[in-house]
Structures are given as C-alpha cells and as structure tokens.
C-alpha cells in the first residue's frame, strides 16, 4: 500500500474529486433543463484517475483526452467558468463555445482536447512527443483514452511509433470496463491490457483507478521515468463509470447490481474514509470543500448563463488561420 499524503495534499485531492463530481452532477441537471445539449459523457466514478494522474504532470506537459474529459480540464486548471460556458456553447467557453462537452481545449494549459474520434488523438500525442524530443525539450505528453480504444489500429500504430522512437509519451488507459455497451472481454481477446504494451517492449503498469493515492503514486513513478528519458510507458487505471455512457444510453448491457457493487469503491468516500482513519482529514473538511465547490459551481453556472453566443458572422472564422490576425 502506497504512503498516504499529508493534509494539504489530501485536501487538494479531495477537492478536485468533489469539484468534478459536483460539476458533472450539475451538468446532468443542466442537460435535462436543455442548457447543455449534444453528447454528454459523465466521468462520475472515475474522478480519482484524472485527479491523481494529473498531479504527476508539470504545467509544461501536454494533455490529450477523450470526450469524457470534464474532470481532466478542471483538474488541469481550466477555470470552471470557462468549462461550464463551453458546455453551454457560449463564446466565453474554453473553446469559444464551438466544441462543447466533447471538445474542451485550452492551449494555455496545454490541454489539447477533448477528442471524439476514439483513438484518433493517440497519433497526435506521438507527434507532440516527437516534436518535443526533436526540439530537445523535457516535456511529457500524456494521452488519456478508454480501454475501448485499444481495439483500434491507431492504438497499435501509435504505441509502436512511440516505442520505436523512444518518445516521451504516457499512454494512459482509463479502463472503465465498457466501451458504450461493450464489455472489455467482448472487445479484446486478451483482456490483460499490459500485455499489449509488452508486445511493443514498452513498460506497463496497472493500477487501481479508484484509489487516488495509488493513481498519483504510480503515475508519478512512470512519468518521472519518461521524463528521465526512459521512453514511452503505458498505464492502465482500473475504474468504473457509475453513469450511463452518455445521456442516450438505456444501460441494457449491465445490471444495476453490478453498478451498485462498484459504487462501493466510489473513490471519493473511500479516500475520505482512509484519510479520516489516518487522522488527516475530517468530515468537516468535506463539508467545507462542498461549500466552496458549491460556490464555485454556482458562479460557473451564472457565468455560463451570462455568456454570449458567438455571432453567426464569425462562423467561418478560424477555418483557416487569418494571416496577420
């Protein structure tokens, strides 16, 4: 068992997980209210992954995610206001409202999406690592993807290129057991995912993605090795999504009992329990965090509500780079 964090550190982890959870619960409500539209993929249940893993990255490191990336954006430091405005499609959003839930971008925070073609961002991560390597920069590129992406050819091509060229890329697999309605065993003949990495000679580790401390510790070890020039690495976070794949999912493919079973591993209460047992945190800390998050959240909703629509005249702006602009 990994060492427990100190109080400040623990407060940070708890805060981030609560921020994600409450943010997304509100998003689900706002979806029902018609404020958020399109696809909305909730990360609820998986918060420990982004929370723990992103602490292992420095501000110069790059981050690429899937369409299930609200948590990553928030932990990365994209202001909740901008994320919520983006969910609404307002031009004050982090992608000027054009991307919505699936395409959160923030170049300043080196967040390169919010990518919605499954596995389509893996080659990008390889190229970003390549650019850094060629320019002699010490940065790491962390690329998050679901276990469903492993069946795509792009996963394979990207793993091979990164390993062949020893690029500073972290392949971060969020294994929540399902790709939409397809359980891992129905999409991969070999379900031990680290074996895939081995077939590229790439170091690989699997970690309990419901344990934020383990996530952080293991990620840090592997990111440090990458940064030290060890080449790419693969990490699997074993997690579970408590909610439907998106808002259009009848969840016919799994039992409520299965979900309930996994809810017992809910990363937020389990982390809190452990910290309380170690006398690091108290129930009051949680209450305090909840209050702060509630405030941040209502401000974010207000910000998004007050946001404005990008004028239709600007629809085609940025299809190409306006030179001189």
């Amino acid at each position: 068992m990994t060492a427990l964090p100190g109080r400040g550190h623990a407060l940070h982890l708890l805060t981030q997980m609560v921020r994600i959870r409450r943010f997304e619960e509100r998003c689900a409500e706002l979806y029902s209210a018609g404020k958020i539209r399109g696809f909305l993929h909730l990360y609820i249940g998986e918060e420990a992954v982004a929370t723990g893993a992103l602490r292992a990255l420095g501000p110069d490191d790059a981050l690429l995610c899937t369409y299930r990336e609200h948590g990553h954006a928030l932990v990365r430091g994209v202001p909740m206001n901008k994320v919520m405005a983006e969910m609404f499609g307002k031009q004050e959003g982090c992608s000027r409202g054009r991307g919505g839930s699936m395409h959160l971008f923030d170049a300043e925070h080196r967040l390169y999406g919010g990518n919605a073609i499954v596995a389509g961002h893996l080659p990008l991560a390889v190229g970003m690592g390549l650019g850094d390597q060629m320019a002699g920069r010490q940065r790491v590129t962390a690329c998050f993807f679901g276990e469903g992406a492993i069946a795509e050819g792009e996963f394979h091509e990207s793993m091979n290129l990164a390993a062949l060229w020893k690029l500073p890329v972290l392949f971060a697999c969020e294994n929540n057991g399902y790709a939409m309605g397809t359980a891992l065993a129905r999409s991969e003949s070999q379900t031990a995912l680290t074996v895939k990495a081995a077939s590229y000679g790439m170091p690989a580790v699997s970690v309990d993605g419901m344990d934020v401390v383990a996530v952080e510790t293991e990620t840090r070890a592997i990111v440090d090795a990458i940064r030290a020039g060890g080449g790419p690495a693969f990490i699997e976070y074993k997690t579970y999504r408590f909610r439907a794949h998106s808002m259009f999912d009848a969840e016919l493919y799994r039992d409520k009992a299965e979900v309930d079973e996994h809810r017992k591993r809910d990363p937020i209460p389990s982390f809190l329990r452990r910290m309380i047992a170690a006398n690091t945190l108290t129930e009051e800390d949680l209450a305090h965090i909840e209050a702060k998050v509630a405030e941040e959240l209502s401000e974010a909703v207000a910000f998004a509500e007050a946001g404005t629509w990008e004028p239709i005249e600007e629809l085609t702006r940025d299809v190409y780079t306006e030179v001189g602009a």
Binding site: G89, A151, E152, A250, L315
Partner: protein, 326 residues
C-alpha cells in the same frame, strides 16, 4: 397502412431479411447489447442471437473489411458504421477492396456487402460527429449509394440493397430516425434505379435527398403560397443517379436548385449542378443554384450548427432567385 418511425422501418427490414435469409447478419459497434447507437437494432439480439447480431470492438477498418470478406464467401453482411464521421477509418477497405475487387479480379468475385451509416448534423454533436460526406462515396465506381428519406425507403432500400450483388452504402440521416410516416400494408418493395418526384411542379425543380427532403418540401409549400410551383425530386439513389428523371424535370421547369447538407465545394451537390448545366444547358433559363453546407467543421451551439446547414428560408430564397423573383 400503419404509422411507423424511420428507425422502426429500418428495424423491420433488418428483421425481415434475417428471417428470410440465414446468410444475412448485422455487425457493428454496439448493435447488440446496447441496441445500436441510434437504437435501430434494439431487441434484435434477443431474437437472433449474438452470432447474427454481432457486436464488434472499436475497429472500423477491421470489421468493415470483415464484412467485405464475409460477403466474398457468400454471406450477406449488413455492417453498421455508427456515423459517416468514423467511416474514414474504413474508407480504404470500402474503396480499395469492396469497390475494386470485382473489376480488378476480372469479374471473378462479387461483394454483396451492405454498409449502413448515419449521417448529418442537427443534434449538436460538433465537429467530429456531424458531417455529411456522401460525396466521398458517390465518387467511387463500384459502389452504390443510397439515401432514404421516407419510411418506405428506409425499409425497402435496405431490403433491395441486400438483393444487390455489389457493395451498397446506405446513408441514414440521424435527424430522420424519429420521423414518422405511413407504411402501407403489405410494405412495398422499392427499386434502386429511380428518383422520386416527391411533389409535382412546373416553375422550378428542387433536387434533394435524405435529411434535406423535409425542409425542401416545406420550401415548396411556402413557394406555392407565393404562386410558384416547385417540383421536388427526392433522388433516393445517389449512385448510380437517375439523371433522366432530373433532366425530365428540368426540361419542364427550366430551373433547378439543389439542396444538400454536405459542404458545398466538391460536395454531393457539385456533380448534380455540373451535370444539369452540361447536359441540360439549353433547357436552363437560369443558372443552377445550390443550397448546401457552409464550409466549416460544424460547431456545437445550435445557432451555429443550424447556420452551417441548409434552412428552408435559404431554399425559398434560392428558388425565388432562379425564377427571377430574387
């Protein structure tokens, strides 16, 4: 006569064909347990079992190619690609294999695969889920390309596609799945050779297909109120296209507007416009006009999304322009 949704019509065809011919099977991401991303195959896993309602891993090139291979050994696979946006991953298989094998082998093999995919915008799914790329497929010899716009065609064209010896790509506009329409009893067979005159008229021909038919007929109704008689063609079969019906209509109206959701330049509408102006030039009393998608990766917010795709008002305006009331 009963009222069914477009989705139900697709499902009817799936069921009927699977009952009629054991070589037919459906495969694609989440067609089984999940019920299909647009719920077209909901309930079919229970009815036909997992071999024939086959969930696939995320591997578009692999499973589309597998559909082609299965067709080569006598199966009649229906491959569902969730959306045309992901179909680029399978385009090599579709073009370099499905469309090519028969000719390249000197006619020794044929590839009776049916590939269904959803297309189009309107659900605020943003730039990686909203496009209309029919033109990538209509450009390819060896493929047949269908675009049902009615419940009768949603069912009938899928059945006809399964009877076709060659690869057929069917575009189902995602905005149509919930649309209701009358299904005659018994449900009629349809051909894969003719465009359909959806509304007769004499002043201008409005040419469209699939997801744009509704707005186009709305435009025709609005034009009628202004005393302009618009003929509406539902092309149905995009490749090989029924040029005769197009030319016949233009011979009558002398004016044409094409309505298509795809990006305008080098889009589906381009060939239609070009062909009319080339082969019916002397019949035209005005230049052809296109109401097509704005050339932009479609954005998320509804006002920008709708601004990216053809609207009824634009169809009306284009029709007014070509009839000289512009």
């Amino acid at each position: 006569m009963s009222e069914v949704t477009f989705r139900e019509a697709v499902r009817m065809a799936l069921r009927e064909s699977m009952h009629a011919d054991e070589r037919v099977f459906l495969m694609g991401e989440d067609v089984g347990r999940y019920g299909g991303s647009y719920a077209c195959s909901m309930g079919l896993l229970e009815e036909f079992g997992e071999a024939r309602i086959r969930d696939t891993p995320l591997s578009e090139s692999g499973f589309v190619g597998a559909g082609i291979g299965a067709a080569l050994v006598g199966m009649k696979p229906i491959v569902e690609v969730m959306t045309v946006n992901f179909s680029l991953l399978a385009l090599d298989q579709i073009i370099n294999n499905a469309a090519t094998l028969r000719h390249m082998s000197g006619g020794q093999v044929n590839v009776p695969v049916v590939i269904r995919m959803s297309t189009g915008a309107g659900k605020q799914l943003a730039a990686q889920h909203s496009h209309s790329w029919e033109a990538f497929y209509t450009h390819v010899p060896g493929l047949k390309v269908l675009s049902p716009a009615t419940v009768v065609d949603a069912r009938g064209m899928l059945l006809a596609a399964l009877d076709d010896p060659d690869p057929v790509v069917i575009f189902e506009h995602s905005g149509l799945y919930n649309m209701k329409g009358e299904m005659p009893e018994p449900p009629p067979a349809v051909d894969l050779t003719h465009a359909r005159v959806a509304r007769e008229g004499t002043d201008v021909t409005l040419i469209t297909h699939g997801g744009c038919l509704r707005r186009t007929t709305e435009a025709a109704a609005a034009l009628a109120e202004r005393g302009i008689s618009a003929e509406v063609l539902d092309l149905r079969v995009l490749r090989p296209l029924d040029w005769n019906t197009v030319f016949e209509s233009v011979a009558k109206t002398h004016r044409a507007v094409i309505v298509d959701e795809g990006w305008k330049s080098w889009g589906f509408s381009a060939e239609v416009s070009a062909r009319i102006a080339e082969d019916a030039f002397w019949m035209l009393d005005a230049p052809v006009r296109r109401v097509a998608g704005v050339e932009v990766p479609i954005p998320y917010p509804t006002h920008l999304e709708q601004a990216s795709i053809p609207q009824t008002a634009q169809v009306i305006a284009a029709a007014l322009e070509v009839v000289g009331h512009g």
